[in-house]
Amino acid sequence: MLNKLFRKLNKNNIHSSDEFEVALSNNLNEMVESLLKIFGDSNDIVQRDFKIAKTKSAVLFYIEGLSDADSIEEDVVKPLQQIKSEAINEQKDEVIKQAIQDSINLTQIDFSANFDDAILPFMSGKSLLVVDGLAKLIILGTITYENRGIEEPQSEVLIRGPRDGFIENLPTNIVLIRRRIRDPNLTIQLGKLGRRSKNDFAIIYIKGITDESLVEEVRYRISCIDRATIEESGTIEQLIEDNVLSPFPQILQTERPDKAAASLNNGQVIILVDGTPFSLITPITFEQLFKSTEDYYDRWQIGSLIRMLRYSAAFIALFLPSLYIAMISYHQGMIPTTLALSIAGAREGVPFPAFVEALLMELTLELLREAGVRLPRAVGQTIGIVGGLVIGDAAVRAGIVNPIMVIVVALTAIASFAIPAYNVSITLRMLRFFLMLLAASFGLFGIIIAYIAINIHLVGLRSFGRYYTSPFAPYRFIDLMDTVIRMPLTINKKRNDSEHTADPVKQK
C-alpha cells in the first residue's frame, strides 16, 4: 500500500532526453558550431585549433582538468602536426582514419558516427577531435584523475590488518579488489547510473561462488533506479533495499578492500560507485553486523572473545538504560538491598522520575556525540571533555541526575562505540529510546515486549530475499560456529549461508 502511495507521489514526466538530433557533416565549421551548441555556455571547455601536416585544419575539444592537457599536446597535437604522410590529403575516409590512428600515441581511439555516442565520453574526460573533410567524431582516451592517496579508512580502524582503504575513484577501487583476488572468475560489470550525473558503478562478484539469480536480482534492482543524480553509494542502498521502513540496515557498507574481498569469497555481491569510498555488500544477515575482518586475522580465541564482547556491547547499548528505568520504577525488589539503599540515597535530591532523568542524560550524550563529529578534530576532543566531565559532574551536583545514571549513560555510550559498523550503532540508539519509553510504561514486561517485537520484525526482514536472522533462524549449524564464538578456521570450512552459494566449501 505504501509502495503504491510512493509510486503515485513519484510519478512525474521523464525530462527531455539528451539525444541530439543533429547530423554530422564533413564541413569543419558546421561541426564546430553544432558541438559548441551542445556544450552550451560552459567556459571550461577548451577548443584547440591546429593544422594536420600544416595543411588540413582540425579542432580538438577537451574539458580542463578532466583531460590530461600535457598528454594531448604531446601525444595528439604534436604527432598530427608533424605527420608526413600524403594520405591525409586524400578524399577517402578510411585512409584518413588510418593515417590519424597511426600517428596518435594513445591506447584508446574511437570513431563515432553520431553525437550521442561521443558526448558522454567527452563529459567523462575524453577529448573530441574533429578533422575537416571527415564526417566522424574522433574520441581520444585522455582521461586523467585528481586522486587522493590510498589511506587507512577512518570509519573502520583495525589494529591488525591491511592499512589500505577505498578512495573516491572507481578504477583504483577495482584494482584494490583485483589485487586481492587474482581469479579470472572475478567478474566486474560496469554501468552508468543517474539520468544526469551518469555515475560509473560496478557490480562485482565471483562467478562460480555467487548464486547467479542473486546477481540477476541485484542487476535488476539497480536497473530500476531512475534518478537524476547518484550522490553516494548510500543513495543506491536506499533505493534497492528490501524494506524501507526497517531501522536495520539490509546492505552493509565498507571502506576496506580486504572486507570486500572476504565478502566476495563468501558469495556476496559488491557494488562500487564512483565518487565514494563506501562500497556496498549484499546480501547480509544480522550477525554480519557484528563481524569485523579482524576477527579472522587474530587467533580464534581472541576473535571469539572480541565477538562475545561485541554482542554484550550490543546488549548493553540496547537494554541498559531501559533496564535501569524498569528496575528503579517498577522492580526495586530486584536490586540488592545495599545498592538499592545507596541508589535511593543518591536519588533523594533528584526531582524527576527515572525515565525523565535517563532521557535527559541520553539526549545530552547524543548531542555531545553529534557535536563531536561535526567539530574540527582538536576541538572535538575538548567538547568530549567539557561534555563528559563538566556536564556529567555538574548535573550530579546540581541534583538533576544521580551518579548511577551517569554511569549507566557512560556505559551505554562506550558500548555503542564497540560495534564495528557505524550505522548499526545508530540503529541501536534509535531502538534504545523506544525501549526506554516502553520500560517507563510497563517495566520489564515492556522490555520483553519490545524485544519480541524487534524479533518479529527481524524474522520478517529479508536482505535480497535471504532471511535476515540466519543462521539463528533458520538454523544453519555450521554457520553458528562463526557467530558469537568464532571457531578455529579448520572447523569453519564452509562459506556463510552455504546453501545459497554455488560452491559451498572455501577451505579443504
Binding site: Y330, L444, F445, V459, Y475
Partner: protein
C-alpha cells in the same frame, strides 16, 4: 516482488519442526504441573507419571508422523476434505480446532495477565496487558508460517537453557528424602495423575497443520520424539525439584510452584536480589510462542477452512476481538483453572478424533484404490 514468492515457498526443516514442537508444548505446564499433580495424586510419584505419559505422547507423535508421510504437502484437514463425506467432517473438525485455538489463546493470555499482575505490574490493569499481548501476537501472525516457526526456534533455546540452569542452581537445596516413599499407594495414583500430565503435553496438535509445510523426505519421527523426550525430562526435573525442595504438603498449596522455586535461588555474587521477575520475563517468551502459534492456526483455520469466501482483512480483527472478550469471561484464577480443564479435555478429544478419523479415511481410501490398481494390472 521476488522475496514474497520465496516466503510462500518456505519449507520447515525437521530440526525446526522439532524445536517448534517444544516451543508449543512448553507453556503453562512448567509453572503449574507440580501442584496439579500433588493435588490429584496425593503422593510425590508425579515424576513416574510424567515419564509414562511422555511415552504415550511419543506414540501419538509417531502415529501422526506416519500418517503425514502418506500425504505430504497437505495438512490433516485438507486430506480429509478430499472425500465427499470427509469434507463435512473436516469442516466440523476445523470448527472444533478453531474454537480450541481461540480458547487456548484466551486461556494463556489470561494466565499470563494474572502472573504478570502478581509478579511484575501490580497496578497496571489486566486489560491493558492482554491488549498489548494480543497486538503483539497479531503482529507476529502477520509474518506467516515462516515468521512463527522462526520465532519459535529463536526463543526456545534461550527458554530451555534458562529453565535447566535454574534447576541446576536448585540442586544444593534438594532434600531427596521428600520424594520418599516411592509408590507407597501402589499404581492407582499414577493413573489419576495421567490425565493431568497428558494435559501438559497438549500442543502436539500443531503437527496436524505445520507438517504440511515440510518436504516429503524430511518427515521423520525421531527428531520429534527427541523433543518430546526433552520436554518429558524438563517436566521430570521440575517435578523432582519442586517435591525435593517443598515437600508434598507445601506443594499442594503453592499456586505457581516453579516461580517459588526461582525465588529460592541465590545468585552467586548477589547481582540480583530477586530473580523471579527475570524468570517470568524469559518464560514470557515461551508463552508468547505458544500464543502466537495458536493464534496463527486459529486465524488460518478461520480464513482458509471456515470462511474462505470472505475476502479482505476483516477476519483477523474479528478473531482478535473474540479472543479478547473470551479472555475476560473467566473471573478468577479458580474459574480459569476450570476453564483450562475443559479446554484440555477438548484438546485431547480433538487430537484423538483427528487421528482416528484420518487413519480410518486413509485405510478406506487405500483399500478402495488397491483393487482398482490390481484390475488395471490384470
Amino acid at each position: 516482488m521476488k522475496s514474497e514468492n520465496q516466503q510462500t515457498a518456505y519449507q520447515i526443516s525437521i530440526s525446526e519442526m522439532a524445536v517448534s514442537l517444544i516451543a508449543m508444548i512448553v507453556g503453562t505446564g512448567v509453572i503449574v504441573l507440580p501442584r496439579a499433580l500433588a493435588v490429584e495424586m496425593n503422593t510425590t510419584d508425579g515424576w513416574i507419571t510424567v515419564i509414562v505419559s511422555g511415552g504415550f505422547v511419543m506414540f501419538f507423535v509417531f502415529i501422526i508422523t506416519k500418517l503425514q508421510q502418506e500425504f505430504p504437502g497437505r495438512n490433516f484437514l485438507q486430506f480429509l476434505a478430499e472425500g465427499l463425506f470427509g469434507k463435512w467432517i473436516s469442516k466440523l473438525l476445523a470448527f472444533s480446532f478453531f474454537v480450541y485455538f481461540i480458547c487456548v489463546v484466551s486461556f494463556l493470555s489470561r494466565f499470563l495477565a494474572i502472573t504478570i499482575d502478581i509478579y511484575l505490574l501490580p497496578q497496571t490493569p489486566t486489560e491493558v496487558i492482554v491488549m498489548i499481548l494480543l497486538l503483539l501476537s497479531t503482529y507476529a501472525i502477520s509474518k506467516g508460517v515462516q515468521g512463527i516457526i522462526h520465532l519459535n526456534i529463536m526463543f526456545t533455546p534461550i527458554v530451555l537453557s534458562i529453565a535447566f540452569v535454574i534447576i541446576i542452581f536448585e540442586i544444593p537445596e534438594f532434600d531427596l528424602l521428600n520424594l520418599r516413599p516411592i509408590m507407597a499407594d501402589g499404581f492407582i495414583p499414577l493413573f489419576k495423575g495421567l490425565k493431568e500430565t497428558m494435559f501438559s503435553f497438549l500442543g502436539v496438535e500443531i503437527l496436524f497443520f505445520f507438517m504440511a509445510y515440510m518436504k516429503k523426505n524430511d518427515i521423520r519421527a525421531l527428531p520429534l520424539l527427541t523433543s518430546i523426550g526433552i520436554i518429558s525430562f524438563l517436566y521430570f526435573s521440575i517435578i523432582i525439584a519442586t517435591f525435593a525442595i517443598f515437600g508434598l504438603n507445601s506443594t499442594k498449596v503453592i499456586t505457581f510452584p516453579m516461580i517459588d522455586l526461582v525465588k529460592e535461588i541465590d545468585i552467586p555474587g548477589g547481582i540480583f536480589e530477586r530473580v523471579e521477575p527475570i524468570f517470568i520475563t524469559i518464560w514470557f517468551m515461551s508463552m508468547f510462542n505458544t500464543i502466537a502459534a495458536a493464534h496463527f492456526l486459529a486465524d488460518t483455520l478461520l480464513k482458509k477452512e471456515l470462511l474462505p469466501y470472505i475476502k479482505g482483512g476483516l477476519l483477523t480483527p474479528i478473531a482478535v476481538f473474540i479472543i479478547f472478550i473470551n479472555t475476560f469471561l473467566t473471573k478468577s484464577y479458580t474459574e480459569l483453572s476450570l476453564f483450562g480443564e475443559w479446554l484440555s479435555n477438548l484438546g485431547l478429544i480433538n487430537i484423538i478424533v483427528c487421528i482416528l478419523v484420518v487413519s480410518v479415511t486413509l485405510w478406506y481410501r487405500t483399500k478402495r484404490s488397491k483393487p482398482s490398481i490390481q484390475e488395471e494390472q490384470a
